[in-house]
């Protein structure tokens, strides 16, 4: 195959208004997902500020208890279903086609539909603030019977809108998952065998497979709960012969793997970025790829560890403790592989690298508290306490959100054609790293002391650590300002990006920045070696020199 003459012709400047309407272009949809996700991130973060404001002092004095319960419920729901899943789907949309050399996703219209469901269920969820009685207040788990109490008795209640939104979110994610899995399996560039595929695609494949297996359980469970709430069925109502614990199984059968849906792509990001900024190949590439699927397999058989005090039998407690412990093995393999990648590298402490390093150390901490939580006797004491809240915020914010920031800074030039500012980026990192640790570390001693999660008031002995946590939260709130400034100003007037500003290896870096609508169009390069060939001197694709020369010429003439 000859190099791409069409690239040299450039492409017409596309209007920014395409981001506002229906588009079937994965690169447009990807940015739509990310921008919308950060809009909801600000709402969810604002709710967190109120929560931490309430918890600055022991009594419930800032907001009414009913309001507090609604706010913490909506904080969790928005952050998971409207921030983290959409932002990851945004990255999937941007990265999967460009990394594997596909022109677009396998089902572009399905992709559009999956995206546009997000503002629909997002609006439903936000609308629930304004219905009589207020939004759902039973936590993002929505355990019955408290979630089906419906104090006003209206058909349209905060809880029913919440359930509808979660069910729609499930539908949207299933549509997305079908698309991502199909695209990865069917649309790779010539020569790109599975073991020449970038690790991000491996982790996306693993995560989206989990979505396909797990989401039907949650969506079905949520629909049954909606029936219990609105039409009086008794799937979970004890007085009608139902079992409230049954819901917990449906919920956690998906919602534990959901954590892996979140963290696996972040492992993918770490695996992509550590080689670039260490200038070394990923250590043990094949092993890292396979570890993702071991995590998928194990991730499906650990859910009962969320229910150790819920009235499960001893054999289940022991069995699920063992399976949960085993997760530490493939995860440990990845951590060691990243350390092996860093070792004797030529480390460049760029903004994305700083976010990766910070995310990695936070993740190791979260992994250790995770093993503690898997241990039944410890979990019996700390489950449903702030220890758990601290643990999962280390995973979700400390590791996943940090990884997502790393990815955004790293691939920003590719998809916007502009360079982000390093100074603002580093400021963002420092504030985020200090803020996250100050916010979430004090939650661990609180949990060990016995402070339950979800409380709107607490005994005075918990005040000290809560004040620290709140200060950290406010710092995190501030940390988003340099990020937003950076994104807006560099997108508007940042220096123009070359096709490969980080000197990275990957098909996406053999495209112009930003890439044309159809990526490589019909001139898809043939992949001839594994990714991450830093220092080996091996080209990734056939005629690589020629493609790069064309891109450089094109940039020089622009």
């Amino acid at each position: 195959m000859t190099p791409t003459p069409s690239l040299a012709q450039g492409h017409p400047q596309l209007s920014w208004t395409r981001y506002l309407g229906f588009s079937t272009d994965a690169k447009v949809i990807g940015i739509q997902y990310i921008v919308l996700a950060f809009f909801f991130f600000l709402i969810g973060g604002f709710l967190a500020m109120i929560i931490r404001g309430e918890l600055l002092t022991p009594p419930a004095d800032l907001v009414d208890r009913t309001v507090y319960n609604g706010l913490y419920t909506m904080h969790g729901t928005i952050m998971l279903f409207l921030f983290i899943f959409p932002v990851l789907n945004g990255l999937n949309n941007l990265l999967i086609p460009t990394m594997i050399g596909a022109p677009d996703m396998a089902f572009p219209r399905l992709n559009t539909a999956a995206f546009w469901l997000v503002p629909v269920f997002g609006s439903l969820l936000i609308a629930s603030f304004f219905v009589p009685g207020g939004p759902a207040y039973s936590g993002w788990w929505s355990y019955p019977p408290v979630s089906i109490q419906n104090p006003l008795g209206n058909l349209i209640s905060g809880q029913s809108l919440w359930l509808l939104a979660v069910a729609l979110s499930g539908v949207s994610s299933i549509m997305g998952a079908i698309n991502f899995v199909t695209t990865i399996l069917r649309m790779r560039a010539p020569g790109m065998t599975l073991f020449r595929m970038p690790v991000f695609c491996w982790t996306a494949l693993a995560a989206q497979s989990l979505q396909l297996i797990g989401l039907p359980a949650l969506t079905g469970g949520a629909v049954m709960l909606l029936f219990d709430l609105t039409v009086g069925t008794s799937f979970y109502r004890p007085e009608g012969g139902g079992d409230p614990v049954l819901y917990q199984h449906f919920f956690w059968f998906y919602s534990h793997p959901a954590v892996y849906v979140i963290i696996l792509p972040v492992f993918g990001i770490f695996s992509e970025l550590f080689p670039v900024y260490s200038r070394k190949p990923l250590f043990g590439y094949v092993y890292v790829c396979l570890a993702s699927f071991i995590i998928v397999g194990l991730g499906l058989i650990v859910w009962v560890h969320h229910m150790f005090p819920s009235g499960v039998t001893m054999w289940m407690r022991n069995l699920f403790m063992f399976t949960t412990m085993l997760i530490a093995v493939p995860t440990g393999v990845k951590v060691f592989a990243w350390l092996g990648t860093l070792w004797r590298g030529k480390i460049q402490l760029t903004t994305p690298m700083l976010f990766c390093l910070g995310g990695l150390i936070n993740f190791v901490f979260a992994g250790i508290t995770g093993v503690m939580l898997a241990t039944v006797p410890i979990d019996i004491h700390v489950s449903n306490t702030y220890f758990v809240v601290g643990h999962f915020h280390y995973v979700i914010y400390g590791a996943a959100v940090m990884g997502i920031f790393a990815a955004i800074y790293h691939w920003f030039p590719k998809f916007t054609g502009r360079m982000p500012y390093e100074g603002l980026g580093k400021l963002h990192f420092v504030l985020t790293f200090i803020g996250a640790n100050l916010n979430f570390l004090p939650m661990h001693p609180l949990g060990l002391m016995g402070m339950p999660r979800r409380v709107s008031s607490y005994d005075p002995e918990f005040a000290f650590w809560n004040v620290l946590a709140s200060l950290g939260a406010f710092l995190l709130g501030v940390s988003i300002i340099p990020f937003l400034l950076n994104m807006i100003s560099s997108w508007a007037r940042g220096p123009k990006a070359t096709h490969n500003p980080w000197n990275a290896i990957g098909l996406e870096w053999l495209l112009p920045s930003p890439p044309p609508v159809e990526n490589f169009e019909e001139h898809v390069p043939t992949v001839i070696s594994r990714p991450y060939g830093y220092g080996t001197g091996l080209p990734l694709v056939e005629h690589q020199d020629e493609i790069e020369r064309q891109l450089t010429l094109q940039e020089a003439s622009a």
Partner: protein, 312 residues
């Protein structure tokens, strides 16, 4: 990972060994510190849980510090020179290393799991993890050594939002839980509305209370004092205020309390939720969003208190 495995870098080996030694000492120290992060040990389950946690804290600290050391070393020593854009020496993997670092975590977590299972079994013998709905022949006979048969079953009724404790042998009821020191106690946990969590941090024990089920739950207090019982499973508006006090006292004091309580007339017990709800109704407009109305305070012989200073 080094290129020449035949020539051992002696100073490096010594330095790494020394550093590992330092980390082991620090980790053990942190592990011992971890006992102070808990409330007082007021049940016979507490020392087992704290010991297990200390063990895991030691291992966890070591792992964390080891990873942090490698990262710190790399950041300080393996930084690219300014303007050096060249690649490092390509090391793509090392099968031997990969096997080792799969095997070590595997052995480590399995060791932890086996230790934890042993603690589970001890806790099971002590009582707290068995349930009435799974009763087998052994359990029906008590399942305990003859001299440690639970003397009495205390019924715990969880409501939105109050805790009521009933002592069937004497007919006493209270919203403050009194327990005799060093005596195994059996609770029968029931809920009249939603899920609640029966959680006494000083005892390190927790059990969800599930509507439609009666759950048997056993424990043995080992320290005199006043402790908090907290609702640990979100139960609605006044979830945070659904707390009761647990008073552990000598057998004599306990018997005296029961005897005195049996003579007292029934009166409304403690329910902070009811008090707050009444205050809320007086405000106009009613603050906040919709709420379930609290159940009336239980009628009990002894309301007790949940506002006195507590040990944990």
């Amino acid at each position: 990972m080094t290129a020449s495995p035949s020539s051992i870098n002696r100073p490096a080996v010594i330095a790494v060994s020394l550093w590992v030694g330092v980390l082991i000492v620090i980790s053990r120290w942190v592990g011992l510190q971890s006992y102070h992060w808990f409330p007082v040990q007021a049940s016979n389950a507490a020392p087992l849980v704290d010991g297990l946690f200390s063990f895991e804290t030691t291992i966890g600290t070591f792992v964390f510090l080891a990873v942090a050391s490698v990262m710190g070393w790399v950041i300080v020593r393996h930084r690219a020179e300014k303007y050096d854009a060249s690649d490092a020496e390509p090391i793509e993997g090392n099968t031997k290393l990969e096997i080792i670092w799969t095997a070590i975590p595997f052995v480590l977590v399995m060791a932890i799991a086996v230790y934890a299972m042993k603690v589970n079994t001890s806790l099971g013998v002590l009582g707290p993890m068995e349930h009435i709905h799974l009763a087998d022949a052994k359990e029906q006979q008590g399942g305990y050594p003859g001299d440690r048969l639970p003397s009495e079953t205390i019924e715990v009724v969880a409501r939105q939002w109050s805790w009521e404790f009933r002592y069937p042998d004497t007919g006493v009821s209270s919203t403050e839980l009194h327990l005799p020191l060093d005596q195994p106690v059996t609770f029968r946990l029931v809920s009249e509305d939603v899920l609640h969590g029966f959680y006494i941090p000083a005892f390190r024990l927790k059990q969800d209370v599930i509507p439609g089920r009666a759950i048997n739950f056993n424990l043995t207090p080992i320290r005199v004092g006043r402790y908090r019982l907290r609702d640990s499973q979100f139960s609605g508006t006044w979830f945070a205020a659904n707390q009761a006090d647990v008073v552990v006292e000598s057998v004599e004091a306990y018997q005296a309390w029961l005897k005195q309580a049996a003579g007292l007339p029934l009166q409304p017990g403690i329910s902070d939720a009811v008090e707050e709800y009444e205050l809320r109704l007086k405000q106009s407009p009613t603050p906040g969003w919709a709420t379930v109305k609290p159940a009336p305070p239980p009628q009990v012989n002894v309301p007790g208190s949940n506002a006195l200073p507590h040990d944990a």
